[in-house]
Symmetry: C2
Subunit: 322 residues, 2 copies
């Protein structure tokens, strides 16, 4: 069975780990391909950071900092402390030393001329991840955020908006810079076309899944695949459990509501993306409306408290379209 997952960072990583756990405990003969968001990627002082891909890598390798939610377990900040001591620093951005090691390894390979997908393959080879990790695209397509700050229109890199302002500065739009020149990374379209099922992880619908869908060719591949497409709601009881998806949804005019996100993705039967959609039990009242609208829906526990709970979610997603 071939399972392809579109995923953002921390939430996506947790979901994929649960899916991998499901495969392990059920002896399912499954190949998992994860298409990771690259819209958060940034050049910081000449170093290429790819936050979502690294969150996926670290979580799948089991070296992530579970408590903090990002970065490497047991990391230190010797290099960052030095930057601050020089009064240079990354004022709104901190990279641990181990994390920086990943970033410098990636930067070295990119500067050697490797495309991002080849770099991800090289870095991922360090650990037995049990999944194939692909960036959505090899091109640099970074998400920039239109804001009004101190009375003036500005554009911030998504990472700055997210980390420095904690997404509190109202955004008026998200722009994928350079997206018109982008193509899906090698293997992405194939992974969607040849899948037995495609899952949209419970990631940010705007700046994670939405960004992946914005790469020309990916939405088309989803529309064309014979595989059913099932999403899991990142919104429970009208709020995002992780990250700050609330602000992102508000910006694009979508209600912060599990069913509203499904309608935003749209029913495949009516030109949208979804065959199925899972909402949390707390949002069960939205299920009949979704089904009427052509999206098979079910309410199940959607809190990814541990791998077992997350595996149950993944199982529910697979069963929804079986």
């Amino acid at each position: 069975m071939r399972i392809t997952v579109l995923a953002g960072g921390v939430g996506g990583a947790r979901f994929v780990r649960g899916l991998r756990h499901l495969v392990a405990i059920t002896d399912l003969d499954a190949e998992i391909v994860v298409v990771g968001n690259t819209g958060d990627d940034a050049w910081v002082s000449g170093v290429r950071v790819t936050p979502d891909l690294d969150s996926l890598l670290y979580a799948l390798a089991g070296v992530n900092d579970e408590g903090r939610g990002w970065g490497r377990e047991g990391d230190s900040e010797r290099v960052s402390d030095e930057l601050r001591a020089y009064g240079v620093g990354w004022p709104w951005f901190t990279l641990g030393d181990l994390d920086l090691g990943t970033c410098l390894a990636r930067t070295a390979l990119l500067r050697d001329g490797l495309p991002l997908s080849a770099v991800v393959e090289r870095l991922a080879a360090r650990w037995p991840l049990g999944v194939t990790l692909l960036p959505a695209t090899d091109q640099e397509v970074e998400t920039w955020v239109h804001v009004v700050e101190d009375g003036r229109d500005r554009e911030l890199h998504f990472e700055e908006w997210w980390v420095r302002t904690r997404a509190a500065l109202p955004a008026t739009a998200f722009v994928q810079r350079g997206v018109e020149r982008a193509v899906p990374a090698p293997g992405v379209v194939e992974a969607i076309a040849e899948a037995d099922v495609v899952l949209l992880a419970p990631s940010n619908p705007v700046v994670s899944i939405g960004t992946i869908l914005g790469i020309p060719g990916i939405r088309q591949a989803l529309a064309a695949t014979a595989a059913p497409v099932v999403g899991l709601s990142p919104i429970i009881r009208g709020t995002a459990l992780r990250g700050m998806a609330n602000a992102c949804l508000t910006t694009i005019g979508v209600a912060v509501d599990a069913a509203a996100v499904a309608r935003h993705y749209g029913a495949r039967a009516h030109g949208g993306l979804l065959d199925g959609w899972l909402v949390d039990e707390a949002d069960a009242d939205g299920v009949p409306g979704l089904e009427t609208g052509g999206i098979r829906a079910r309410a199940v526990p959607l809190r990814m408290t541990d791998d077992a709970a997350t595996a149950a979610m993944a199982r529910a997603a697979l069963e929804l379209v079986r």
Copy 2:
């Protein structure tokens, strides 16, 4: 009194520290300007390293690793270990974490558009160095080394030749890439022109002092200054105490000998650079010949075993032309 020193890395740093010590213990009213070699500078995986300037900075700040001879005291290699774990690494190059902090701070400032001299000023402001540190030039003028490796002509960056091959691969030439477009950094020509004395530290005559002299305008400034120019031999008893100057001198056809190095710089009276030259007591037999050739010379202990010994060397250099 204005003292301007042309200096390479570790040896230059040790000498300047001794000179600073002399100023402190004698209550000399002196301003010290150090012009540091930039020929070892390199881009490594998108990070700008400036080994000689950093050796000067760390030694003058008192944070250098005295035992190892380079880098920061108490440094760790968490980032480098990560690079190796990914199979990327800098195979012939290791940067400690604290050292990398300096490099990333510099890289950030350079990428913000600051010239190297402004970057050095910013970084140096962290500590009360007691001297003004200037790069020889703001332009990227890197030293490349012609070698024959595995039977083929190659050019290596100086750092690779120095660190990877330990200067053991015979060099046929040193080339300063881009030197024709370089100008002295702001303050360098002034520091030479307005000095009361100019000292050539006991640094590598080829790839440290020689590289500084190769920047168009610096040799001319030395020829034109009213200040006497005094050098200290980095060669004692026919060998270099630090670094691998032997191989460099051999490459350019200069004997590895204290007096030969002075003749290589040349007597100012005959179109060269030197008014005075200090050799070690072990090389006293070369003194009469140098004096005949127009270079005031004296034999004194030239081993920089500690700040007091080095201060005595600096004092002898100043006294030679008083």
